[in-house]
């Protein structure tokens, strides 16, 4: 019995029950396709988060009020006496090149959510930001139409605003918003520029935003109290770590903190944000992969099931073959070949289905296929066919010819 003949017998055996073979293959197909697509979705989502974080600018550091920090690792400050909020004075201290030489620019920001109205069209802007012009560079926001507001606008608290592309289309439609007046939270603002679309995924649309001079927003909405966070741009990507240290030192001075472990502010770089995100995404991908792997396993059990039925059905045939001298190995090989063929074809079609399926957007995520997952899923499917087929095949091969022949 050469391998080619064994294969021919296997094909013959499978084609004797076409529907059953097809359904068993479908089980493996779904398993393999699920592994490929779900891992691609996981990978795609981590890719898109990475992209959107990189869009924010890699040199920028965000200082926010609160305990712990990039270095502190989230220690509780319940023992410390009150948390000093971040203020515009803190931002001024950071802008001093003598104490913080690696800091390029500083932009304190306050943010609020307001309803914007233009000629009866109303739109709730999720982020109305009051800040300095340095914000645009630090946050990697580029103006598409019009211009940024200037330092002069900030000094004079002019009611001007740069709006995001989503806000622009929602309020103005196809009309160019530059130079038009829009009422935000009861205060009229003149639109001076529209930001280029950043795009991105997540719960918040980064393009649904209004950016106005800090004192204007403070005057109109938030009051002249603390700022919500301070955006700092380091001189270069390599300078973010020294800049982070300088910021901590300066702010410990202004907040009067001596213990580096009880900071009341947090300095986070995009890098740390990125690593947190990628950790989350890894977990997400592993979970998706596990679900898919389970479905692949179920497909494998389907093979065992069907092969057991086949062996029972063909007990008599096995008896005949044994009576005319088929050795155990040949019977074993024949049934193993059948189960492996099932998983091989199922796995192959699964790879095709997976690759086709990952061309479509799935829940807003563009899947990115991991080549290793394709080979891995296919190889595992074939291995599953061998493994799960070995039990029924062994059972067939160990049948005693006399009993097999008597079987009806």
């Amino acid at each position: 019995m050469n391998p080619f003949e064994t294969l021919r017998f296997a094909v013959g055996g499978l084609s004797a029950n076409k529907v059953r073979s097809a359904l068993t293959m479908l089980g493996v197909l779904i398993g393999v396709a699920a592994v490929i697509i779900l891992l691609a979705v996981g990978n795609g989502s981590s890719q898109s988060v990475k992209d959107s974080i990189e869009k924010l600018g890699t040199n920028s550091l965000t200082i926010s009020s609160g305990s712990g920090g990039a270095f502190g690792g989230g220690r509780s400050t319940s023992g410390s006496t009150g948390t000093k909020p971040l203020t515009v004075d803190d931002a001024r201290a950071l802008a001093d090149p003598a104490s913080a030489p690696d800091v390029k620019s500083v932009a304190p920001e306050v943010s609020t959510s307001q309803t914007a109205i233009y000629q009866g069209a109303s739109h709730t802007v999720s982020q109305v930001v009051g800040t300095y012009p340095a914000y645009f560079e630090a946050s990697n926001s580029k103006v598409d139409k019009g211009d940024y507001f200037s330092a002069d606008d900030v000094l004079n608290s002019r009611k001007v605003a740069v709006i995001g592309s989503t806000t622009a289309t929602d309020l103005f439609g196809t009309v160019s918003p530059v130079g038009r007046k829009v009422v935000i939270g009861g205060t009229p603002f003149t639109v001076v520029g529209v930001l280029a679309t950043k795009g991105g995924t997540g719960f918040q649309d980064p393009d649904d935003t209004v950016i106005a001079p800090l004192p204007t927003v403070q005057n109109a909405f938030t009051g002249f109290g603390p700022v919500s966070q301070i955006l700092v741009e380091a001189k270069s990507a390599d300078a973010t770590t020294p800049a982070q240290n300088e910021i901590t030192t300066v702010l410990m001075g202004t907040h009067g903190i001596k213990d580096a472990n009880s900071l009341d502010f947090r300095v986070s770089s995009q890098e740390s944000l990125l690593s947190t995100q990628s950790d989350t995404n890894k977990t997400f991908t592993v979970l998706l992969g596990a679900v898919a792997a389970i479905s692949l396993l179920v497909g494998g059990i389907g093979i065992t099931n069907i092969m057991l039925v086949t062996v029972t059905e063909r007990t008599r045939e096995i008896g005949i073959r044994k009576a005319i001298g088929a050795p155990k190995g040949v019977i074993l090989g024949q049934f193993l070949a059948e189960s492996t063929l099932l998983s091989l074809i199922g796995g192959g079609l699964g790879v095709v289905a997976g690759l086709i399926g990952s061309h479509f957007r799935i829940v807003g995520i563009k899947p990115v296929v991991i080549p290793a997952s394709v080979w891995g899923a296919f190889a595992i499917a074939v291995a599953i066919g061998l493994f799960f087929g070995s039990y029924p095949a062994n059972r067939a091969a160990s049948l005693r010819p006399i009993e097999a022949l008597r079987h009806e």
Partner: protein, 298 residues
Amino acid sequence: MRLGLGGRAGAHRRGSPPEAPLEEGPWGPPPVIEVRSLLKTYGHGDATVRALGGPPDPATGASPGVDLLVEQGDMVAVMGSSGSGKSTLMNILGCLDVPTSGRYLLDGIDVGGLDEHQLSLVRNRKIGFVFQSFNLVPRTPALAQVELPLAYAGVRTAERRRRALAALALVGLADRVDHRPNELSGGQQQRVAVARALVTAPAMLLADEPTGNLDSHSTEEVLSIVDRLNASGRTVVLITHEDEVARHAKRVVRLVDGQVVADVRQAPADGPPPALRDPAVFAALSPHALTEAGGGSR
């Protein structure tokens, strides 16, 4: 396949007993079947069923067992009603089942000492089976059906095809090679089975009620093929309960309750079978077969 034709070698390796005259020496060729004190029981204790070997001796508690010697070229019919143990004997002779005790030498090989793989080789090389229910592999054309034992024996494709076609021609089915079992009549199916049984040139053809499922015309066809095979020197063992079939044999062995009760020779072992010795007389006796041949030995 590793063993080659030396199933014999396997028997020797396992130390064939000195009293067994296996070699072709001064005593001539070994008998095809040599069975000594064969016993087959099922179950244990009080529930023991003695399928073969007869009831135990009241004094010693031991069963006499079955002894049988079949020479090369002989044509033996084993007869008996259902429950007489003829199917059990057939399964043991065909190496499909193992005896509880006793020795069985097939073509000089002690079958009792062989492992499963060697047994499958013995079945492949030494025995050609013909069953009552044909037992063809489903969905397989006649040619592939007949090639199958050769495939298991590791014969090359071209040689296999040549021999399978020759065997099919011998049973008169040269024009049916591409037909599947469900496209053949019962008689044709049984002829395919006979072709499959003889294609490996086995030491004996073992037929279990070969005509049990056939009409009288097909029965004659199949039996005449068997007659011709025997005439050309092939040893044949027929298991049957029909006198019409037993009439074709050179020797009739009758089993009752697992014991041989009669052993009648109808023709010499080294001549043509009764049907070919004097065809005219044989055919003439045919209508009275049940009273003439069957009644004689009863």
